[in-house]
Symmetry: C2
Subunit: 471 residues, 2 copies
Amino acid sequence: MIDLMIPFTDNKSAPYYEQIYCFIKREIQEGRISAGEKLPSTRQLAEKLSVSRSTTQLAYDQLVAEGYLEARPCRGYYAAEVESLLAMPERSSEKMELRSEAAGEERGEEMLDFSPRGIDLGHFPFSVWRKLSRETLQEGNREFFASGLPRGEQKLRRAICDYLQASRGIHCRPEQVVVGAGSEYLLMLLWQITGKRRIAMENPTYRQASRVLRGLGHDIVPVAMDRSGMRADLLAQSDADMAYIMPSHQFPTGAVMSVSRRREILNWSAEVPGRYLIEDDYDSEFRYRGRPIPALCGSDYAGRVIYIGTFSKAVAPAIRVSFMVLPEELNRRYDEVCGFYASTVSRVDQEILARFLEEGHFERHLNRMRGIYRNKHDALLEALEPLRKEFRISGEMAGLHLLLESRRGEREETLTARAAEAGVRVYGLSAYFLEPAESHTVILGYANLEEEEIRRGVQILQEAWSTKESI
Amino acid sequence: MIDLMIPFTDNKSAPYYEQIYCFIKREIQEGRISAGEKLPSTRQLAEKLSVSRSTTQLAYDQLVAEGYLEARPCRGYYAAEVESLLAMPERSSEKMELRSEAAGEERGEEMLDFSPRGIDLGHFPFSVWRKLSRETLQEGNREFFASGLPRGEQKLRRAICDYLQASRGIHCRPEQVVVGAGSEYLLMLLWQITGKRRIAMENPTYRQASRVLRGLGHDIVPVAMDRSGMRADLLAQSDADMAYIMPSHQFPTGAVMSVSRRREILNWSAEVPGRYLIEDDYDSEFRYRGRPIPALCGSDYAGRVIYIGTFSKAVAPAIRVSFMVLPEELNRRYDEVCGFYASTVSRVDQEILARFLEEGHFERHLNRMRGIYRNKHDALLEALEPLRKEFRISGEMAGLHLLLESRRGEREETLTARAAEAGVRVYGLSAYFLEPAESHTVILGYANLEEEEIRRGVQILQEAWSTKESI
């Protein structure tokens, strides 16, 4: 862990939290703290510097909001990747609209964290998983400890096909499916099939995917969105030869791609040989109102859609199983170029998951979680009612988070900082843009909070945001 | 599965097995059967074509020996990757030195398979693994289902460091370790840190690694070996800026790199900034005679050795956990470039493996397996005694296979084909060369056979090889 010896200036014009914020930010920018390094906890740092814990918390929150730090649940704070940050506009400490008065108040309780990345693990079906695991780990099942098929076991790939057909309107054969330990790994395999590409991405988008794609050497072309999804006219004008999209429920905007836009995007892909679409269908399972949105892949008339799905959201993040469905041409190429890669998922885990799917446990689990998440979603929407005059709410009806856009044009930094000061963590939208962007929108994830916490959190937000307004 | 309709010629000069062999080989070479496609079983094909099963077996064995097919235990036969084969010298069917007479005899029993890739799963500690798994999958351990640390859990990385210190003479910190789902995945991450390189590889070498490295775009520079390992003079003359080596027990030759050669190779890496060595320590656990060979990484004075280890050999192939230890400079670069990649191994599996290591189960398992493998190794060596006048035996004292080089210069194709004909599968060395090479050496893996099978297999080999000689 890094030892932070922050030299406070005598000049009292800058409050402590701001000096801490500036110091750490500079250390990260100038590479003295490198990406992935762990920082002391807010408590440790507060003790060391003899300041209150809310002072250090405030500084960290701001650093998280601006993307310099990453808060990992139950783990602490880590320095974020710097390269992408250096492209962000410099936010001078003078612009920080934090209220320093509050920094003196000591708070005993934990922050209420509306993380958009959380999921509710309280209802994970431990007993079923344990039973399947016990039954798999039997002496007689020695074959599960031998090497398996490179693309993943036939049983799991068949179960995935059945699920995709029943729930996502995709008709595919197990021979088109590749199972892998996480979507990031699948993107690595995909890169080996398609080679370096110019990939259009919705802006804002899922930042982890853009990092992985950039890391693999692809060029990323940000394409703006409207309410119907990625703008097809802008895509056509771009020189991209591939597009990464989330048509069923875009992250983070929550937009659902309209039927006509789907047609336009599919036509774009079919127009020129070698164009492909990557459909990331990361959380289509959680839709609470309206008709289910079928996967784009199901309407792929030209064989241009690469479908990527995962069990990390729907089952648990620790279940490191994702899969992709390849259109015929790429599927043949996969065999040539990647056919020799051994599967990255253990056969034991594949067997457990296959049985979880086949025996109906997955469906039951999804239905249960859908109900639980719907209740949280509804509780959040209801609690947010009084804020509607100040905020435009979007992204509802599906997924695990909502967006609040300030109608008065308050900057997200102001909103996140005021919330943090009051003990609630919300997330700025700007971190998800591929290019520096000013934002007036914050994200509230609710998966990991109890309904009561959601209501309490919104209450605090309402006070924090309205009090500040009157200053 | 492929439907093979083989049009037998009326011309009876070419026996059926040869026509089958030629037909399938051409289908693969010309891309009509693509890499990874499954072929009918020898039984199915025999029924379909109305020939005896040993006829189809003979054809398949030859295709396996020449690398066109891959035999996967309990799975069947699959077409191999063609690209690497096209570079191999054409072996016309005329040169096939198979004895056609035997093709008519029906054999009821299975082939005895001296596969060098097999491992003995009969002694896998199922009950321990099941117990650890049950204890991990408890309601109270909810955290194991949340996302974990990108490099792998601290507990597992610490257990790996302890193991490396005690058994391999490597002193490293958990912060230098990256856990990943298989060595192939780690090579992908490594490529992102080092960029495209010119990588020297021992020739012959572990073919899977060369495929992966080539697939990532690296240039591969084959460097010949002598008894002390990769030749340092040839490495110095090459324009490689990285080398992939197996100093403790080279695959497939079984060579152990001498102390002076180690120094030369380490000096080569230290000479020019940016040079690195990848030390693949895939099966150092199994050494039966003489002193244990420490890892090269332990003498790495200049911070140039990337150490890669795996639990696939020592525990089970299905335990998809490998790890690498990065020297400081690359370790920092890893954080910058790859720090955001989530771990590819589930936390549940990491916890089970960490406890397997920490609680001494791994050590006990290794000691037990070492004894079992030593007995098999000794049984094979003893059984081979009578063949010593015909064959030079090498690669003994460690690992899970031996090499037999014909003193009379018989070609490996002859040896493998005659063995196959008699119901025993042995493997040619030529498949492991990076460039086309004539070989007089066959490989006998023994891990997956019982001692009695080993003795019986060698008995059959002795007869098959000596009978044929007198023809």
